[in-house]
Amino acid sequence: MLRKGLIATFSLLLVLSMALAGCSSSSSSDDILVYGRGADSKSLDAAVVTDGESIKVTKNIYDTLVDYGDDNTDIQAALATKWDVSDDALTYTFTLREGVKFHDGTDFNADAVVSNFKRWMSGDGEYYYYKSMFGGFEGDAGHVIKEVKALDTYQVQFTLTRPQAPFLKNLAMPVFGIASPTAIEKHGDKYGENPVGTGPFKFVEWKRGDTITLEKNEDYWMEGYPKLSKVIFQSIPDNQSRLNALLTGAIDLMDGVSPSDVAKIEGEADYQVFTRPSMNVGYLGLNVEKGPLKNKLVRQALNHAVDKQAIIDAFYEGQAEPAKNPLPPIIAGYNDDIDPYPYDLEKAKKLLKQAGYGDGFTMELWAMPVPRPYMPDGKKVAEAIQASFAKIGVNARIKSYDWATYLDLARKGEADSFLLGWTGDNGDADNFLYVLLDKDTIDSNNYARYSSDKVHDLLIKAQSTPDEAERTKLYKEAQEIIHEDAPWIPLVHSKPALGAHSKVQGFTPHPTGSDKLTKVYFK
């Protein structure tokens, strides 16, 4: 009797799940795109966010004055239809698109632009990107923007204190998306949960840790776009679960595909793989203020001791190329004449001996706890490097913390050596070299604490030189010095992969790592 009951229970469950399977997602609409990703956003106030997951969403809610090309970082019109630059490169006059409205129904015009810039310049909030791209806030010595004023309803003029070569590229960054001043005032410190822009999609709902839902902006200025009626950003932290969700059709597009899963998706008839153009670098930073690493010869020796190709073959499944510079080759100013440090253990040992560390030494090697596009598995890469170092007598002890602590302590210079990486924000060399290796950015992104006056002078000069050929020359020279000083072991430029159902069309992965979904549609 009881046995029957148990069998009945099991059968019931099986029948139930089979029966319910029949009713599966029949109500799903075909123009809703579910974008699966590894983590949730932090805020949807474009101006305050620094994490990629937030920017992925804000990029679709806001428009910027100028925008990047679909698959490159060339500048094109967006909210501004045209712009004039004065001969001294100090005055930029933008003509704005007419008839554009914010999602809350208020008008987009010159006053709105001025109001946004005033907000960022004030430095009242923590507008990190504004500060770093435009040299500080109002009143700071290095602040680039002297004044922003409305000439008339649809004309805005920027006056700069000094020429800034990447000025337009900076303006195109998604963090400078123009927000509705009315909404900012209305929502106060809760604006980050109630974002209002002019972009292709309007914000609908945010279930923290779960989904962010956007819907089509019916009045979008780009004729015939967007194609999708809704976009749902779904966070699924586990890589394998996310892949399962893709292959069962629960999500349409998947971010952060592990290199080892690329072949699997390609092998499925109804699925496709997108490869993001590589605009990143993964590296092992060497803290130049710590013990033996103070010595340039030691850093060079360590550079000789890493077999980058082996790392790429083992952990990137070939989805990367070895790096020799802090810049990826797609960025203007990349110095291809640099000879990479060859993988040569004898040379490494010789250099160590020359530096007075013939018997080797012990140091820490920090391994990233989270997968990133440029570093799918930090712990395994660290182990491989550890094994290499052991061959030249360097005993590297692997250490890891949770991600927030890792960054915090590394920023303070507590790591001897550490794995990290960077994805470019705006496609400019400045965004790699100055941000990561200038003496100004020690205690910020210059975790290696590398300080070179020569490099600093070159980078600052390049920042204010409008002539592109001249800038390229300056950046190439800076890379030579950096190569010689070896504050990093540049490891890879990876090609991050995304997986999608084959019905997803019109999607172009952007090199900056965040995609505008305006042109995406379903076949």
Partner: protein
């Protein structure tokens, strides 16, 4: 009974207070300044100092603790540093999601686990007994993480009969009222969505139920065996009473005491297992709410979240104790 109940409830208070101290200290021992995390890695020192002050994080630890307790007493769980929302308000949807999942998992664990235990005991040393106990042994030792992924692989990927993650179909989302989706969909008469919610519940709740199910089966079996060996049962069986009568009329109530204890404990532990299950199945529950708060060093959310979960745990144990003493009055006087 009443005085015992009151006494028992009074004993909970110092436990809860102790909990708050421990949680508070652990949370503040996590390295990393929340102000730094909130403002991002590139924030200036001044901005961090200012925010630290604004959040009261520069005050001595005991002052911070006293403030925290003062607020707690008035039912104020604090405000999330991150979303600036009241935690008491914000935590509910997550808590409801976890409770729904745990409840369903527990029902599965009890129904299957107890029945398997009872049958195993009755048919001791038969193939059923051996099979059930081997499964129970596997069940207690299987990592939820692995099991969850296997379930996804088999039922979602290979058979394609069940969804692999989440609480509902995001393309056709449930409109939350109570945040218990099983209830909400029924209130709104959305049978299609109800079915959807049930389908989403199956895999994670089975993953979560595995361990308690196995433990309950084993405890029920051994407890039932003890009772079945006693004289009065032997008499009943000798008189030719049917199995159903022997078990449900005579044996079950006596065999139930250790089972109830274990059910109570397992329900508490379930909340811990829920964090893993929630991660694999992207279940937006309180485990993930706390987990994400740890990532952003959202101190108030971490400490209030843990406290809420701990309170539920303690409450369940209290209820089990009371139930226990109701079934067997001798216990009260120990």
């Amino acid at each position: 009974m009443l005085s015992y109940t009151i006494r028992r409830i009074m004993m909970v208070l110092p436990v809860l207070l102790g909990m708050t101290v421990i949680v508070f200290l652990i949370v503040h021992a996590i390295p990393g300044n929340p102000a730094q995390v909130m403002l991002g890695q590139q924030a200036s020192k001044e901005a961090i100092e200012q925010l630290t002050k604004q959040l009261g994080l520069d005050l001595p630890l005991h002052i911070q603790y006293l403030d925290y307790i003062k607020n707690l007493v008035t039912g104020d769980l604090g405000v999330s540093l991150h979303t600036k929302k009241e935690i008491a308000e914000e935590i509910w949807p997550y808590l409801a999601a976890t409770m729904e999942l745990s409840f369903v998992a527990m029902i599965i664990a009890i129904v299957i686990g107890m029945n398997a235990g009872i049958i195993s005991a009755w048919f001791q040393n038969t193939w059923f007994d051996y099979t059930a106990m081997i499964f129970a042994l596997i069940g207690v030792s299987i990592p939820i993480f692995w099991l969850g992924l296997m379930e996804q692989w088999f039922f979602a990927l290979q058979l394609d009969i069940l969804p692999s993650y989440g609480r509902d179909n995001v393309r056709n989302p449930v409109e939350a009222i109570t945040h218990f989706y099983l209830i909400d969909t029924l209130i709104q008469g959305r049978i299609d969505q109800f079915v959807d919610v049930v389908r989403h519940l199956i895999l994670p709740s089975f993953a979560l139920a595995t361990i308690p199910m196995a433990i309950i089966a084993r405890i029920t079996r051994s407890s039932m065996l003890d009772v079945l060996r006693s004289d009065y049962i032997r008499t009943a069986r000798a008189k030719g009473a049917k199995m159903k009568v022997v078990i449900y009329k005579h044996a079950l109530k006596n065999a139930l005491i250790p089972v109830i204890t274990i059910i109570g404990l397992q329900t508490g532990l379930l909340l811990g297992g829920a964090i893993l299950t929630e991660t694999i199945f992207s279940w937006p529950g309180v485990g993930r709410y706390i987990y994400e708060a740890i990532g952003t060093r959202d101190f108030p959310v971490i400490q209030s979240g843990i406290l809420v979960v701990a309170t539920i745990f303690i409450t369940i144990n209290l209820l089990v104790d009371l139930l226990y003493s109701w079934i067997d009055p001798r216990i009260r006087y120990r």
